[in-house]
C-alpha cells in the first residue's frame, strides 16, 4: 500500500500587513496578503503567479517566517513539516533557515558577494549549520554543479561571481539552495532577469534538479508560460488574494476565473503587416560603431530601412547591440562608419551637430519610465516642455495641448498636476509616450518599452502605440528581446546577434521557415503555454545561447 504523501509546507489563512507612508499623508496600515491557504507535498512544485504587487514574493518569504522591510505576518499559520514556524523564536528560525528552507533570489548578480569565490558561498550555510564537513559539502556542490549542467563542475567553484555568465550564476545559486539538502526551496523569479535563450536552459536545469533531489518548491514568477513548465500546481494571486488554485493542466486549459483567462490569453493583439511600399523615413547604411577607447566593433556594418508609418522591430539577446543601434541613430554614440538618412536628409553622426528639426522628429521612449522622467517635475511640465521648446507654446495654449495629449494616451486631464511618483508603472510609460508625441515626431525609438511592465499593462501600452501609429502615421523602431511583442506590433523585423543583423525582412518572411540557426534558437526559446513544451525544445534545439 503506498504511503500517504508527506506534506512539507502547509499555509493556512495567511495574513500579512505593512505600514505604508504615502507622501504628505499620515501613515496607514495596508493588507498585503489575506486568506491565502495551500499545501505542498514532498517532491511537488507550486507556482505562485500574479502581477507586481500581487503578494507572491511576500508569501514566498513568509514560508520561511520572514517579512522584508517592516512587513508583518499578522494572521494564519505556516506549518513546515508539522511545526508552526510562525510561533518560533529567533533562534529556532535561524536554525530553520538555510537548513530546512532555502531561497533563490531573482538577481543572482546582486545576491552573490563579489569578493568571495563561488564555492565558499555555495557551501556556506551547509557548513554553518554543521550539516557536513567541508570535503563532503564540496563534493555535494560539485555533484550539484554537474547535475545543473554547469561547465567544468570541478573547477567552477574557484571562480568569482563576475567570472561566470548571468545564467550560470543563477544555476550556482540554485546549487547553493540545494546544497544543505533542504525540505523546501523558494524560487523567487529565478529566470526573470535572464535572456530568453538563457532562461530556457536555466529552467530546464532547475526542473531537473528539483526532480532528482525530491525537494518541495515554491516557484514565484509573473510569467504563466514559464510556471507551466516547472510546476505541478498553480496559484493565481491578485492584490494579495487568491484568485484561483488548481493543477497546471486545469489552470492552463480550463481556467475558471475571468482574471486567469486574461492572463492565459494575454497578447491578444492581432496586427496585420502593412504593405511594403512607403518611402523610407529612416535608412541605416553600413553603420559600424565602437565605444571610445575600445577596439571592438559593437555594431558591424548594419543596414536597415524603416518605411514611414511602419514598425521595425529589432530583436536579440542582451549584448547583441540593439540598444547601441538606438544610441547611434540618436547621435549619442556617433557612428564610426556608414550613413544614416532620416526624412530624406543625411543625419550628422553626433547629436551636437544636428538641427532642431532633426531632434524634434526623432523621439525616444525608454525601458524604465521611472528614471526617464524627472521626479521633481509634474506631468504638465514633462509633457509641456517639448511643446514650449519646439513650438513656443506657453501658458493656457500649452496647458490645453498637454490635456489633449493626456486624452490621447487615454489618461484624462486630471493627471496634469501629478508627480511621476503618484503614477502607476503603466501610466508612467504613457506619460513618456505623450512626451515623445508632443514633439510631432516622424520616428519614435522604443527601447524595451514594455519589458518592465506586467503583461496585461504591457498589452495596453502596445495597443495604444498601434492606435497612435494609425492616427499620427509615426514610425517606430521597436527594440525588444520579447518575441511575443514583436509578433504583436512589427511590420518588419531585424534579428541581431553579436552586433550584426543576421536576418532582416518583412515580419511574414522573418518568422517563416527556413530559419537560420540563431533565429531558430531565439524563436524556439520563447516559453509557450503548453505542457511539455520545455522537454520538446531542449530535445530538438540546434544551437546554444551565447550566454552559456
Amino acid at each position: 500500500m503506498p504511503k500517504p504523501p508527506e506534506i512539507v509546507l502547509k499555509v493556512q489563512g495567511l495574513r500579512i500587513e505593512a505600514t505604508s507612508y504615502p507622501p504628505g499623508e499620515a501613515p496607514r496600515e495596508v493588507v498585503l496578503v489575506q486568506d491565502v491557504s495551500f499545501a505542498l507535498e514532498k517532491g511537488k512544485v507550486l507556482g505562485l503567479i500574479g502581477e507586481s504587487g500581487a503578494g507572491k514574493s511576500t508569501i514566498g518569504l513568509a514560508s520561511m517566517a520572514y517579512g522584508r522591510g517592516g512587513v508583518r505576518i499578522t494572521g494564519g499559520q505556516v506549518w513546515l513539516k508539522g511545526r508552526d514556524i510562525l510561533q518560533g523564536r529567533a533562534r529556532d528560525l535561524r536554525d530553520l533557515r538555510g537548513r530546512q528552507v532555502t531561497y533563490v533570489a531573482q538577481s543572482a548578480a546582486a545576491a552573490f558577494n563579489p569578493a568571495r569565490q563561488l564555492m565558499e558561498q555555495v557551501i556556506e550555510t551547509t557548513l554553518s549549520h554543521g550539516l557536513a564537513t567541508r570535503a563532503e559539502a564540496e563534493a555535494r556542490a560539485v555533484a550539484l554543479f554537474t547535475r545543473l549542467g554547469l561547465p567544468n563542475p570541478e573547477s567552477i567553484g574557484k571562480r568569482y561571481p563576475h567570472q561566470v555568465s548571468g545564467g550560470q550564476l543563477q544555476r550556482v545559486m540554485t546549487a547553493m539552495a540545494l546544497c544543505p539538502q533542504p525540505d523546501l526551496v523558494v524560487f523567487d523569479e529565478p529566470t526573470t532577469a535572464l535572456d530568453v535563450t538563457t532562461q530556457i536552459e536555466v529552467l530546464a536545469a532547475i526542473k531537473e534538479a528539483i526532480h532528482l533531489t525530491g525537494v518541495a518548491a515554491l516557484y514565484i514568477t509573473h510569467d504563466l508560460a514559464v510556471v507551466a513548465q516547472v510546476s505541478d500546481d498553480i496559484m493565481v494571486l491578485r492584490g494579495g488574494r487568491m484568485v484561483e488554485y488548481g493543477t497546471v493542466q486545469q489552470i492552463i486549459e480550463e481556467p475558471r476565473e475571468e482574471y486567469t483567462r486574461a492572463l492565459v490569453s494575454v497578447r491578444s493583439i492581432d496586427h496585420a503587416e502593412k504593405a511594403d511600399g512607403a518611402a523610407a523615413v529612416l535608412s541605416v547604411a553600413n553603420v559600424t560603431a565602437r565605444y571610445r577607447g575600445t577596439k571592438f566593433d559593437v555594431l558591424k556594418t548594419v543596414t536597415l530601412d524603416l518605411p514611414a508609418g511602419q514598425t521595425l522591430a529589432v530583436v536579440g539577446e542582451s549584448g547583441s547591440g540593439k540598444s547601441t543601434l538606438a544610441r547611434v541613430i540618436t547621435g549619442l554614440l556617433p557612428a564610426a562608419k556608414g550613413r544614416i538618412t532620416f526624412s530624406g536628409r543625411v543625419l550628422a553622426p553626433a547629436l551636437a551637430d544636428r538641427s532642431k528639426d532633426d531632434l524634434r522628429e526623432l523621439q525616444m521612449i525608454y525601458q524604465m519610465a521611472d528614471v526617464a522622467m524627472n521626479p521633481r517635475q509634474t506631468v504638465g511640465t514633462i509633457i509641456g516642455r517639448p511643446l514650449e521648446f519646439y513650438f513656443g507654446l506657453k501658458g493656457e495654449a500649452k496647458r490645453a495641448r498637454v490635456q489633449d495629449l493626456l486624452e490621447q494616451i487615454e489618461m484624462g486631464r486630471g493627471f496634469i498636476d501629478r508627480y511621476p511618483a503618484e503614477l502607476s508603472g503603466g501610466q508612467k510609460q504613457r506619460v513618456c509616450i505623450a512626451r515623445a508625441l508632443a514633439a510631432k515626431p516622424r520616428l519614435i525609438i522604443c527601447d524595451e518599452v514594455t519589458s518592465a511592465l506586467d503583461p496585461l499593462v504591457a498589452d495596453g501600452i502596445l495597443k495604444l502605440l498601434l492606435n497612435l501609429q494609425a492616427q499620427e502615421g509615426v514610425a517606430y523602431l521597436f527594440i525588444t528581446h520579447d518575441l511575443a511583442t514583436v509578433r504583436a506590433i512589427a511590420d518588419r523585423i531585424a534579428v541581431m546577434y553579436r552586433g550584426e543583423v543576421v536576418r532582416y525582412g518583412p515580419k511574414s518572411q522573418v518568422l517563416a521557415p527556413p530559419f537560420d540557426d540563431y533565429t531558430d534558437l531565439l524563436l524556439s526559446s520563447v516559453p509557450e503555454m503548453q505542457l511539455g513544451w520545455l522537454e520538446n525544445v531542449i530535445a530538438t534545439r540546434k544551437m546554444h545561447s551565447a550566454g552559456n
Binding site: P23, T330, N374, R376, F389, A421
Partner: protein, 272 residues
Amino acid sequence: MRRIPLAALIGLVFTGGYFFCAIFAGWIAPYGMAEVVGDSWEPWSATHWLGTDSIGRDLLSRMIWGGQTTIFVATAATVLSFTLGASLGFLAAVRGGWVDQVLSRLVDLVMSIPSLISALVVLSVMPVTLPILILVMGLLDATRVFRLSRAVAVDITVMDYVEAARLRGERQGWIIFREILPNALSPLIAEMGLRFIFMVLFISTLSFLGLGVQPPMADWGGIVKENKEGIVYGIPAALIPAFAISTLAISVNLVADWVLTRTTSLKGGRGA
C-alpha cells in the same frame, strides 16, 4: 504640514534668535559697539547683564554686535561658496571631458593646502576688510562644495531623463538648473548647514589669530581673543562667545537635518 519635531523646534528657536539679534543689533544692543561704559571685567549685574570686557565695554552689546558680524560674514561666504561651487560642480559633471579635468585638478590643487594656511597667507598680504574676508573664505570653501555637487550631479547626469533632455536639444543651463539642481537639492541643503557652521568657526579662528575682523569691530572670535587673559582669573567673559558659537552650530544643524528629511520625503525625491 506635518508637526515639527522637537529637536527641529529647538534648533529653529535658537537659530531664529541668533539671526534676529544679528539683524536688529542696532535696536537690541543696550550700548554701542565700542562704547566704554565701566571698569574692566565687571561682574554680571542689572546694568551689565554679562558684565564688561577687558577694557570696560558692555559684553552683552559686544556679543550682539559681534554676532552680527560673524553671522553676516559666514552667511555671505556660504552663499558665495555654494553659488560658485555648485555651478562649477554641475558644469564639470554635465560637460565632462577636459572641462571636468581642468576644474577638478584645480580644486585638488587648492584642497591640497590646508585652507587655514592658504587663508592666512592671502590675508597677510591683502588688506583685511570684510569683502576680502568673505571672498577668501568663500573661494576656499567652494572647493568642498564643488566636490560634493560634482559627485551628486554625476549620478544624476546618467539618468534617462537627463539623456532625454539632451536628445531634445536642451541647453546646458536648462539641464543644470531644471533637471539636475532640483534633484541635487537635498544633499546640498544638508551640506549648507554644515558649511555655514564651518564658516562661523573659520571666521572666529581668523579673528582669534588677529587676521579676521579688525578691532574695534566686534566678532565672536575677536571677543574670545580680547578676553582670554581673564580665564586665568576665573572671569568667564571668553567662554560666552564660545558658548554662542557652539549653540549656533548645534541649532543650525538641527534645522538642516529637519529640512533634509522634509525635502527627501517630497514627492519622488531621492531616497524618498
